[in-house]
Amino acid sequence: MDFSLTEEQQLLQDSINQFVEREYTFDDRKKFLDSEKGFNEENWKTFGSLGWLGMPFSEEDGGYNGGPVDVMVIMENLGKGLIVEPYVPSILLSGKILADLGSDEQKTNYLHPMISGEKIITFAYIEPQSRFNLSDCLTKATASDDGFILDGYKALVHNASASDTLIVSARTSGNQCDEKGISLFLVDANTKGVSLRNYSTIDGGKASELTLENVSIPKNSLLGAMDEGFSTIDNAIDLATLGICAEAVGIMGKMNEMTLEYTKTREQFEQKLSQFQALQHRMVDNFMHYEQSKSLLVMCAAKMNDNTEDKKKALASLKYQIGLSGKHIGEESIQLHGGMGVTDEMHIGHYFKRLTTIRTLYGNSDYHLSNYASL
């Protein structure tokens, strides 16, 4: 048994931590959030030049052949810095889909410039009624003489306003919740009939509601085989789930650190808060939640390439735990900070908000517990 990182992974971790320390103070982050795109393009190019964007992809796709553990290392450490650059929607979702399904031409036009940091591509798949069900898809694509016509509505499309291209899931056959009959399309963001309603999300991100109205796209927009998009979507969401769980573990570790620090400084009743046994036990519980989450994360990263059932069980366990521990550590950290915890000025609240959205993203604890039970 060896859970330690390889030398390369250790270096990767160090370089991300260094970046966060030097380039990503809270003041910097606030500036990035307030900008039009909601993140910093220079940072994104830096991620590209440091090889982080290409990590999950094979060498022939222009990547670095990284595996799930590398994704874990990247996301856990980006989590510590509360990074808002669109690594998950662009790299882990869209990148994964392009790598799995893209033709040579599509990879050249989309995946390669994405890996180098020139292009941002997001994935639009959530619909108002779909909740966490990936096969629930009402958006329709119908074949036309020279391609396809898209009609429908997608919710919470992360970083859509900063994206050059969208990957859109649409039904080409079957009923609302059938797995078969969903196809994936590349849609240029400037195409006629594509409209976005942009907004900020509670965790500091940007997202959009996407309306597709009689959107005409060429034949070569189709990714992979017609009607067969579901398993690719499912795989991409799995990788993104691992990613945000790693991010959550990074956040939880950081929140525990900040809470310990705060209670060692703050005095009430002529004592440091950290000296009250009632509070010590609660910090121990937070620490245990973190350790349990980290253990399932490591387990899951190790099983991502296993047969489907093992992988699915590992992911369901992990996301279930992240939901529980995210709530526990999130709420307790705020409580232990007292009134200061609810101020916008303290960093802890910003970590709390990201952790809170992660609880829902790609399915909450209930959803993953049901998944687990069905496996």
């Binding site: 959530i126 108002p128 009624q129 779909s130 909740r131 966490f132 069900n133 629930d136 919710a155 919470l156 609302q176 919740c177 309603r197 907004y199 900020s200 999300t201 509670i202 965790d203 997202a207 509601e209 005095e267 009430q268 009743f269 009632a278 509070l279 709530k327 709420e331 705020i334 409580q335 007292g338 009134g339 915890g341 609810v342 101020t343 916008d344 000025e345 609240g349 910003h350 709390f352 908000k353 809170t356 959205t357 829902t360 909450n364 209930d366 517990l369 049901s370």
Partner: protein, 413 residues
């Protein structure tokens, strides 16, 4: 469902049980309902029902409507403008207000400063302040917590030095709710630093317009401006604004803590909100059905309802003990913990219910604007509410402090 029949009076030892209202109480209930129906302004109701933040004017308007009817200072002595209601009637009244989702009135004047003034104040203070509190002419805020004094309130440092016929006040107060609207602030200040820390504290009324008072906003994690820092820089306050004797402030603070605390659990609002969430589950589309078909979610709602019922009956037992002549003592600490726990859990269930539509960040301006909201209307306020409600287990004596009170005063530890 909201109960028409409430359970009075329960003997808190559990011997006698009379679980229905008397005929008079039923008539009273009807009177309250009719009054609300006829007098609750529709424009305020609409805002409340849509989760749009109320303006200062909205709150004052409702305050004045209740006062005109003589139903504002429910707990004040009758001769000063109180209602003379029985505890059952007060209970019915609060339930009906909550069921109708009327605005929460600012407690600082009518529930806090008012009782302090009529109990401990000078004739001059009574004459000046009590009518203005009733009329809603003065908006009060509370100056208790300080940056270094949260749970350990008695360690407060804001200093009031007597110089001739004024106190010169220097220091800072924090978490001052809606101080940006306030005309006056009641403060705990230190008039003596020599003895035991509780003994040198005094209760002072300060006009916010006095030179040297400065209010600075604190923005909270839900993006709103509800609380403030209030700074005092050589603020001269007439000695006549001292309530009670010098050094009597801590006793007044303790009086306030024990006073009017039974409503603190917010049970009636919790019942209304829980019913609303049940209703919302039928409106949240999940695939071809609704969230109501999700057994795991619905069982969480049921668990919460059972917990709420337990809290409700705990409150009723406290009320019954009070109507039998007892005092609400440390029991109010139980209710504070139970109530705030439920408020937070319910706010989390709302977040869970609306799924991804809890993620768009809706500012107060967004909520108030005419533009359509992102996702269903009911979804927009849930995340700000969840985040904002982290405060309820922290304010009013944190739940840790409440547990200390129970350990000490109830369990004798």
């Amino acid at each position: 469902m909201y109960n028409d029949v409430v359970y009075f009076a329960l003997n808190y030892r559990g011997v006698l049980m009379n679980l229905s209202f008397s005929k008079e109480d039923q008539e009273f209930q009807q009177e309250v309902r009719t009054f609300i129906e006829n007098n609750y302004p529709s424009e305020i109701k609409e805002k409340q029902d849509q989760g749009i933040p109320l303006s200062k004017e909205d709150t004052i308007k409702w305050h004045k409507i209740l006062n005109d009817k003589g139903w504002l200072a429910v707990n004040w002595p009758e001769e000063l403008g109180g209602t003379g209601w029985t505890i059952t009637q007060k209970h019915i009244f609060q339930n009906e207000l909550a069921a109708a989702n009327t605005p929460t009135l600012m407690p600082f004047g009518v529930n806090m400063c008012g009782p302090v003034i009529y109990t401990f104040g000078s004739d001059e203070q009574k004459e000046f302040h009590l009518p203005k509190i009733l009329n809603g002419d003065i908006w009060w805020c509370q100056g208790y917590s300080e940056p270094g004094s949260g749970s350990d309130l008695a360690s407060l440092k804001t200093k009031a030095e007597k110089k001739g016929d004024v106190y010169v006040v220097n220091g800072a107060k924090t978490w001052t709710t809606l101080a940006q609207h306030a005309d006056w602030i009641f403060c705990l200040v230190r008039t003596d630093g020599s003895g035991k820390k509780q003994e040198g504290i005094s209760f002072l009324l300060i006009d916010m317009k006095t030179p040297g008072v400065e209010v600075k906003p604190i923005i909270t994690i839900d993006g709103t401006h509800e609380v403030n820092m209030v700074y005092f820089d050589n603020v001269e306050v007439p000695v006549s604004n001292l309530v009670g004797e010098e050094g009597f402030g801590w006793s007044i603070a303790k009086f306030l803590l024990a006073h009017e605390r039974t409503g603190i659990a917010g049970i009636p609002s919790l019942k209304r909100e829980l019913d609303r969430l049940r209703d919302i589950t039928t409106q949240i589309q999940v695939g071809e059905g609704s969230l109501k078909d999700d057994a795991m979610f619905m069982s969480k709602l049921d668990k919460l309802e059972i917990k709420l019922t337990a809290a409700e009956y705990t409150e009723l037992r406290t009320l019954a003990a009070m109507s039998a002549g007892g005092h609400p003592g440390p029991e109010s600490s139980i209710l504070k913990i139970l109530g705030t726990d439920l408020q937070q859990e319910l706010s989390d269930l709302f977040v869970e219910a609306v799924g991804y539509y809890a993620h768009p960040f809706m500012t107060e301006e967004d909520l108030a604007s005419n533009e359509s909201r992102i996702g269903p209307d009911f979804a927009a306020p849930v995340m700000p509410h969840y985040l904002n409600y982290r405060k309820v287990s922290i304010y009013g004596g944190s739940n840790e402090i409440q547990r200390n009170v129970i350990a000490k005063a109830v369990l004798g530890l």
